[in-house]
Structure formats: structure tokens, C-alpha cells
């Protein structure tokens, strides 16, 4: 789920940047440190949209670095437990399938698929197949869009990982997307 958040960061610049391009250097350091990274509270910080304010640099007595407090507005993505999302399947095997929600990876275990989905190893690409009586077959295979509910989230320094289920009404493959 995407949000616009005003965030704050303290940027520390070494003295080599104290010149005419000082503000540019602060912004460049901000982009390096923040864009595309994960914040524990806010999830993925996808992009810095605009800079609200850059404070004056304060010299630190011990290190000689100048500290700038920057307030910026960013597009963040954070997911919550129990929310329903559309994801794109990437890997399918006997344990279940992995899917991508943009930069975030989700895993749906085979136990959390409805019992009528059987793994078909012979199919290429490998897929979970649901044979219905009227001959209308539903498959879960790589590249398909699936609607799942997130039941657990784990955040670490380099990625956010979610666990999901499709064992409920109105969840599962979305053929039209």
C-alpha cells in the first residue's frame, strides 16, 4: 500500500564538500542513503518526491562533519497484516509459490492453497492446477496475477518478506489482469 509521507533525515557531510555545491551534495547524499532502501517504520522508501526544507549545517566538534536536518516528502510502500493485495507469481514449486508485490516478495505455502489445487510438475511452466468438473481449468503459474491476503510480515535490512494465503473466498488467480 502506497503512502505519501513527510520524513526527516540527518545528513552528515565531510568537509571536502564545503564549497559552492554544498546543497547539491546534501541532496545527493540524501538520495543515496534513502531512495530504494527500507525503513523499519515506513517500509520501502520508493522515491523522494520533493524536498521540503534543508536546515542549516551544524558543525560537529569532534568529527568535523556538518549535520543537516532534511525534511522531505517520499512515496513509501508498507503492507499490513490482513490486507488483500494483487501479486505477480515468480516461482512455483512443491512447497508453494513465490510472488512479487513490486519490490516486496511474498510466499504462499502449498498448505495455504485450497485443496483443489494440485501441483503439476510435468507442466512447463510448472503450475498448480485446479481441474473443475465443467472442464474449465484454473492454473497458477509464473507471470500470473493472483489476489492474496497477507498473514505475516518480516522486515529486515534489505528486504521485506510477506507470507500470504489464498485459502479464502474471492482470493486466487485473477485472469483478467
Amino acid at each position: 500500500m502506497f503512502f505519501l509521507k513527510h520524513l526527516h533525515r540527518t545528513i552528515r557531510l565531510p568537509p571536502q564538500y564545503f564549497g559552492p555545491q554544498l546543497r547539491t551534495a546534501v541532496l545527493r547524499k540524501l538520495y543515496e542513503e534513502v531512495e530504494g532502501r527500507i525503513d523499519g517504520q515506513y517500509g520501502y522508501i520508493i522515491s523522494v518526491l520533493n524536498i521540503v526544507e534543508v536546515g542549516s549545517g551544524v558543525l560537529q566538534p569532534m568529527t568535523g562533519l556538518a549535520e543537516f536536518n532534511v525534511v522531505y516528502q517520499a512515496l513509501v510502500m508498507k503492507v499490513f497484516k490482513n490486507m488483500v493485495v494483487d501479486v505477480v507469481v515468480t516461482v512455483v514449486n512443491t512447497l508453494g509459490f513465490w510472488a512479487d508485490l513490486g519490490p516486496l516478495t511474498m510466499f504462499v505455502a502449498a498448505a495455504l492453497l485450497p485443496s483443489y489445487y494440485k501441483f503439476d510438475p510435468a507442466a512447463s511452466p510448472a503450475a498448480y492446477v485446479n481441474e473443475e468438473d465443467n472442464g474449465h481449468e484454473q492454473r497458477i503459474e509464473k507471470g500470473m496475477a493472483v489476489r492474496a491476503r497477507i498473514i505475516g510480515i518480516r522486515t529486515d535490512a534489505t528486504e521485506i518478506f510477506a507470507v500470504g494465503t489464498i485459502k479464502e473466498d474471492y482470493l486466487g488467480p485473477q485472469p483478467g489482469v
Partner: protein, 182 residues
């Protein structure tokens, strides 16, 4: 910065005079550049923040006041960001996350026309719907009231009745069908 500016506008980044009276009371507080004296920050443990249940649509103090966006809106913003990356003059490192998000949004964006999205937001009554629910409605293609109640658990409250949900779903479907591509 105009507090009510729509991030999807082309001229969002232009400086506009601050409209103090027009400021919405509900908006999030923008952090100040003047920090309080530094204190020891306790280490972050797995706390309530990780277990916020979206079933109640209460997302904690961080996100309740932040503007929640639909995938279609994000696509418009990211398209503009991509175009402007070269212009600003400050080099930004190649952002893999941005690429993946843009690919995701392109695939799942139900509306292409920014005017449609604005009309949609105007037609949904903010006093009845939580912003999180509005975003979910816009992202998932929901056809019936039952589906809405099953997928969005927070709709199970006294202020929300089936008629309201039905009307909003019909509006959404109309907008999806009868809009010209941008």
C-alpha cells in the same frame, strides 16, 4: 508548499504560496528541521508496529494521517518522477525499487486517466470511508458488496451499510468502463 496540492498535477513541484487557512486539519505533522536535544534511542524490537492489523483500518499513528494512494495515482506520480530524474541536476543512483514498483503499477493500474481518478476520489464520501479502504477499493476490482465485505474486513461497522457500499461500487464500475484512455 501548498498543503492541498494534488501530487498528480504536472506543476506540483512548483513553488506555491502557503495557504494557511486552506490547510486541512487532518493532515499529518510535517517534521521540523529543528531537532530536540539528542537522547539515547532505545533499540527497536519487534513491537506493535509490525503487528498492526489492517482489519480495523487503523494503521497506527504513522499512517493514519498520511495520504494513502491508489495504484493508479502512484503510476502517474512515478511516470512524472522518471521524466524528471534527468532534469533536476542532482544525480540519483539507479533505483531498482522504483523500476519494480513502476512495472507493478503499470500492470495493475485500473485507470489510466488522471481526471478519472480525481473524479473517483471526489465521489467517495470521506466521512464514511477510511482512506485505506478507499485505496483498497481502487486497487482491487471488486464486483459485489459481499466481495467487498469479505476482502475489506473493516467495513464491518455500524456506520457503513450495504447501500453505501453498493453505490460506491457502481460508481467505480461506471468510471472503469466509460472513461477514455488518457
Amino acid at each position: 508548499m501548498n498543503g492541498n496540492a494534488d501530487p498528480m498535477d504536472e506543476d506540483y513541484n512548483d513553488d506555491v504560496e502557503l495557504d494557511v487557512e486552506g490547510m486541512d486539519q487532518e493532515m499529518e505533522d510535517i517534521p521540523s528541521i529543528y531537532l530536540p536535544p539528542r537522547q539515547l534511542i532505545p533499540p527497536r524490537t519487534a513491537s506493535d508496529i509490525d503487528n498492526i492489523d489492517a482489519g480495523t483500518a487503523q494503521l497506527g499513528p504513522e499512517f493514519d494521517k498520511a495520504k494513502c494512494l491508489m495504484i493508479a495515482e502512484v503510476k502517474v506520480i512515478l511516470d512524472r518522477e522518471k521524466r524528471e530524474v534527468g532534469k533536476a541536476g542532482v544525480e540519483r543512483p539507479h533505483n531498482e525499487v522504483l523500476e519494480k514498483t513502476l512495472a507493478y503499477c503499470t500492470r495493475f493500474s485500473a485507470f489510466t486517466n488522471p481526471h478519472t481518478i480525481r473524479n473517483l476520489k471526489r465521489s467517495i464520501d470521506p466521512s464514511k470511508w477510511y482512506p485505506f479502504e478507499v485505496a483498497l477499493l481502487g486497487n482491487l476490482t471488486i464486483e459485489s458488496v459481499e466481495e467487498a465485505r469479505a476482502l475489506i474486513q473493516s467495513l464491518d461497522r455500524t456506520t457503513m451499510d450495504d447501500n453505501e457500499i453498493l453505490n460506491t461500487l457502481n460508481e467505480l464500475q461506471n468510471l472503469r468502463k466509460y472513461t477514455a484512455p488518457a
